[in-house]
């Protein structure tokens, strides 16, 4: 992060950020008055239209990683990093064709509110549903922790609190962000989440487009940017070769994980239940895809402009690549726009965090008890308590792992994708998939991902081997994703045809 203190140097940034926080808080209070049932809390009463659902889906998907981590990653590894973000051009269509229609139609015939609900209805298996709920909680702790940590870093950056508070700054900044999230998540549940997402999403799209334009101009145009980077000793031609700066398995692994893994992201799948009419899915891929593509422009713009500006000598080389976005925003963008972008980044982090506390609460209060054959008496009250518990656990977890924002985020994305994508994406489209195959796939995805990440990162158990059987550059999340698909398909092919029929209404949904 840069040493500048916008609270003194550029007060407009702070004013804009504070106005934003005020608007979000107001939406939370307004929404709390409209949340009366558990359906309101989890799926906004299934009464949300196309635009709000689309923006909520986009906002939930895009976190601080896109705006802070993305340009930082590009600074470090060049255009190979774009393999993470550019699949958004078709993942909305992928989601709609493969899962969105069927999840939404399931909600027409059954009382489903969550991903484990859909798995329970499809497979009639408490084991599969319970494992899915555990995967949701595990992934959420990591993902939410990463969001809270990123939010703390952002608040530090905007208010310059580290200069006053030293090491205590980050926990306090995270605490401030956590309080704000809880204000509207506890009170308003998903009603608050989706309407906040609409406001936040619009802000993110506008800000990303404007910043992209400023980035291209600051670098002297695309040709000058490319020329500066190619002729620079620090970056060189390989920077602009999508397959040139990292192993092929890493670059394409990003593409594979972030394209296919989307099908298992509960914070996105959850949103499709909210749509008031399934026919409104018609324009969903175009609206979600276009808005996501607009937001990716900030990654692309800053990711290319900052290395070019370094190469041109306009800014010194970055010690920490994650400082790319703040450095550019504080130095090359008008203060009002910088304030909007900082607010937009906070918006992205908060909307993702809000989605996660919500689905984790659903997993703890609704899905896991149901998998155990029980029901919680007052789901709404316990959901609000669960939101607080999950948020606090995630913050503690993130603080304990302090500097691993990107690691936590990638790990969580991989956990969701590997554990849930095959059981949902294949299972809702192929009647031959059995409960045993789904359970094995979920267990494989979660187990392989956790094991490989643990072996790769742990340093305290020196006698444990590293995963040396993997080729150089392989992403653990790609291995777990491919393994869970292979397990589900092979078991379904090789096992005898299922003797337990799927319920007629679920078959009707699967055949539509």
């Amino acid at each position: 992060m840069p040493d500048a203190h916008p609270v003194f140097d550029k007060p407009v940034i702070v004013v804009v950020a504070l106005i934003y926080l005020g608007v979000v808080t107001a939406i939370g209070f307004w929404s709390a008055r409209r949340t009366h049932t558990v359906q309101d809390f989890f799926i906004a009463g299934q009464g949300v239209g196309l635009v709000v659902t689309a923006f909520a889906t986009m906002s939930a998907a895009f976190s601080g990683f896109v705006f802070i981590g993305g340009p930082g990653l590009t600074y470090r590894m060049g255009l190979a990093s774009l393999f993470i973000s550019i699949p958004v051009s078709f993942t909305a269509g992928l989601l709609c064709w493969v899962v969105a229609k069927r999840l939404r139609l399931l909600a027409e015939v059954r009382d489903v509110m969550t991903v484990p609900d859909a798995i329970l209805v499809r497979y009639r298996s408490r084991a599969a549903s319970g494992l899915a709920a555990i995967a949701v909680v595990v992934g959420t702790i990591g993902y939410l922790g990463a969001q809270l940590l990123a939010m703390g870093v952002m608040i530090e950056s905007i208010f310059g609190t580290r200069a006053w508070l030293g090491e205590g700054s980050l926990p306090l900044a995270m605490g401030a962000g956590l309080t704000l999230i809880l204000l509207y998540a506890v009170g308003g549940g998903m009603v608050a989440g989706v309407y906040t997402d609409l406001f936040q999403g619009a802000l993110m799209v506008l800000a990303a487009g404007a910043v992209f334009a400023y980035a291209v101009v600051a670098g002297g145009g695309t040709a000058a940017i490319a020329e500066s980077i190619m002729t620079s000793d620090a970056f060189g031609p390989a920077f602009l070769d999508p397959l040139g700066n990292v192993p092929l398995l890493t670059a394409i692994g990003f593409f594979f994980v972030f394209a296919v893994g989307n099908l298992g992201q509960p914070h996105m799948l959850h949103k499709f239940y909210m749509l008031d009419d399934p026919r409104k899915l018609k324009w969903m891929p175009l609206v979600v895809g276009t808005t996501q593509a607009m937001c990716v422009l900030i990654w692309l713009g800053i990711g290319l402009a900052v290395p070019a500006l370094v190469a041109q000598g306009q800014i010194p080389p970055l010690v920490n690549p994650d400082a790319a976005s703040p450095t550019f925003l504080l130095g090359f963008v008008p203060a009002l726009l910088a304030g909007l972008v900082f607010a937009g980044i906070l918006a992205a982090i908060m909307s993702t965090a809000d989605s996660f506390v919500n689905i984790a609460a659903a997993a703890l209060v609704h899905d896991l008890p149901r998998a155990l054959g029980r029901r919680v008496a007052n789901e709404l009250r316990w959901s609000r308590i669960a939101v607080v518990v999950v948020a606090l656990c995630s913050a503690a977890f993130a603080l304990a792992y302090g500097d691993l924002i990107a690691l936590l985020g990638t790990f969580a994305f991989g956990t969701f994708g590997a554990a849930l994508a095959p059981a949902i994406a294949i299972g809702l489209n192929w009647q031959r998939v059995t409960a045993a195959a789904a359970t094995a796939s979920i267990a494989t995805g979660m187990g392989v991902n956790l094991s490989l990440e643990f072996l790769a990162k742990q340093t305290f158990l020196t006698w444990l081997p590293k995963a040396t059987f993997l080729a150089p550059g392989v992403l653990p999340t790609a291995v777990s994703l491919a393994a869970s698909f292979a397990v589900l398909i092979l078991i379904s092919w090789l096992a005898p045809r299922p003797d337990q029929p799927i319920d007629d209404d679920v078959v009707a949904v699967m055949e539509m």
Partner: protein, 162 residues
């Protein structure tokens, strides 16, 4: 008047779902083999482009057929596979190749083939085929009527269900 599903039911073989599943199964195994060094990483690059297309083929098929969606799936397959193949072939040509849009052609290819074109094809392809193939009004009404009449009691499966 023959609706679009009946027309394609007569003229197309029942293979789309099976082909998609075979592609997904084989692609998963090829990916795993490349991850442990048994196969070339280039093969993983090619199956990574096929994987989302096969998933769309699986999700969009009805009674095993793709109907008008076949054009969308084919277009996306050509774009993704063609782009990945192009990126593989153009590796290391940043300095020698001519510039497109001010960028080296390999960088422009990445943005055009994996970012711009798939957005157009999937976004408009989905909307174009939605009412005739993906979700017809009469199918939705039938499902809703069925839900009103024959909705099974919500229950938590007993232990025997597992």
């Amino acid at each position: 008047m023959v609706n679009v599903q009946e027309r394609y039911a007569v003229t197309r073989p029942m293979t789309a779902k099976r082909v998609s599943l075979i592609l997904l199964g084989v692609s998963s195994l090829v990916a795993l083999a490349t991850f442990v060094g048994l196969l070339s990483p280039v093969l993983f690059a090619l199956v990574a482009g096929l994987f989302p297309v096969a998933l769309i083929g699986l999700g969009a098929s009805r009674k095993g057929r793709l109907g008008p969606m076949v054009w969308v799936v084919l277009a996306l397959a050509v774009i993704l596979e063609g782009t990945i193949l192009g990126l593989l072939l153009l590796r290391g040509t940043v300095l020698t190749g001519p510039a497109w849009l001010g960028l080296p052609r390999v960088a422009a290819l990445q943005l055009l083939g994996l970012f711009v074109l798939p957005l157009v094809v999937t976004g408009f392809g989905y909307a174009w085929t939605f009412q005739s193939w993906t979700l017809r009004d009469e199918d939705l009404e039938r499902l809703r009527a069925r839900a009103k009449v024959g909705r099974p009691a919500e229950k938590v499966p007993d232990e025997g269900d597992d």
